[in-house]
């Protein structure tokens, strides 16, 4: 039987790993899109990132709910509660817009040529919105 404290530590480690992959990968893909000519190289990086992004986001949602369990049985209300609501709404918006972004990459894979401006904007928006989610997470964890 795994001790409870070790299980919580593992869940938090997975959460931080998910954040690193999602934010770091988006920033890297944004940088590659900015610096390289539009072509198969930037599309290959975007494709790898899309697979990793959904693995990371799925892990973040799973472990995020697990982290909330540390506050049970009664979650704080007031300002903390409002911040959590804002974070959940932002995550829902990122999920929806990321589904569109992934489908755009799938369409680009069909013709092997991404649109440089759309690629840059898509991954810039992903990076910045994920950084905003991290900031809200910091507020929830440390006030």
């Amino acid at each position: 039987m795994v001790p409870l404290a070790l299980a919580h530590l593992f869940v938090r480690w997975l959460h931080v790993l998910g954040v690193a992959v999602a934010v770091g990968g988006a920033a890297l893909t944004w940088a590659v899109g900015r610096r390289s000519a539009p072509g198969e190289a930037s599309l290959a990086v975007a494709t790898v990132y899309e697979f990793a992004f959904w693995a990371a986001l799925g892990t973040l949602v799973m472990t995020g709910v697990g982290n909330l369990g540390a506050f049970t049985p009664s979650l704080p209300r007031g300002r903390w509660g409002a911040t959590l609501t804002l974070k959940l709404l932002l995550v829902a918006a990122i999920l929806l817009l990321s589904a569109v972004r992934t489908a755009v990459v799938v369409a680009w894979r069909q013709r092997s040529a991404p649109d440089k401006t759309a690629l840059e904007r898509g991954y810039a928006a992903t990076t910045l919105s994920l950084v905003a989610v991290v900031a809200l997470g910091e507020v929830l964890a440390h006030g």
Partner: protein, 169 residues
């Protein structure tokens, strides 16, 4: 309703003639949409439960290990059924695509319910309760799954349409 072969051929035809098409057979699309569905299925109810003040007590009743296992089960079931749905999907024909979403949603609902049943049976050990829960769940979980499947198939069609517009720019 067109069968899977016809739908697949139609999709293939669409992708060869339209450079902005989103091919349903792409494994990235199956992985992305499945992960999107599972995350939405968790984030939206968590937000609603939090707003009504019921989240804390619910989370308190679900252990970390059980919660992670159920999430991974839902993720796996959704990925497998999404792949099957996408082999039948034709994004230029919304009605049969949404109907197929309902069918595979029902399969996902039933599969997830049986996983949930195993978790509940191992936690309670009350065979009478488990038997009644199994009967009710077997009847209702495909219906719930079908409704969710129809909803997500409709949402996915909107996502793919938006992606086509971006890819066309």
């Amino acid at each position: 309703m067109a069968d899977a072969g016809d739908a697949g051929a139609a999709t293939a035809d669409a992708t060869t003639t339209d450079p902005t098409a989103v091919p349903a057979s792409d494994p990235l699309l199956a992985w992305g949409l499945a992960s999107f569905h599972v995350a939405v299925l968790v984030v939206v109810p968590v937000a609603i439960l939090h707003r009504v003040g019921a989240l804390g007590s619910l989370l308190h009743g679900v252990g970390t290990g059980v919660g992670l296992a159920l999430y991974l089960l839902l993720w796996g079931v959704t990925w497998a059924t999404n792949r099957r749905w996408l082999t039948e999907a034709d994004f230029s024909a919304p009605r049969p695509t949404v109907a197929a979403g309902g069918k595979w949603g029902a399969v996902a609902g039933l599969a997830f319910f049986y996983g949930l049943l195993v978790a509940i049976a191992s936690a309670t050990g009350d065979l009478t309760f488990v038997a009644i829960f199994a009967l009710l769940g077997t009847a209702f979980s495909p219906l719930v799954g079908a409704l969710i499947g129809v909803g997500f198939a409709t949402l996915d069609l909107l996502v793919v349409d938006a992606a086509r517009r971006v890819a066309a720019e």
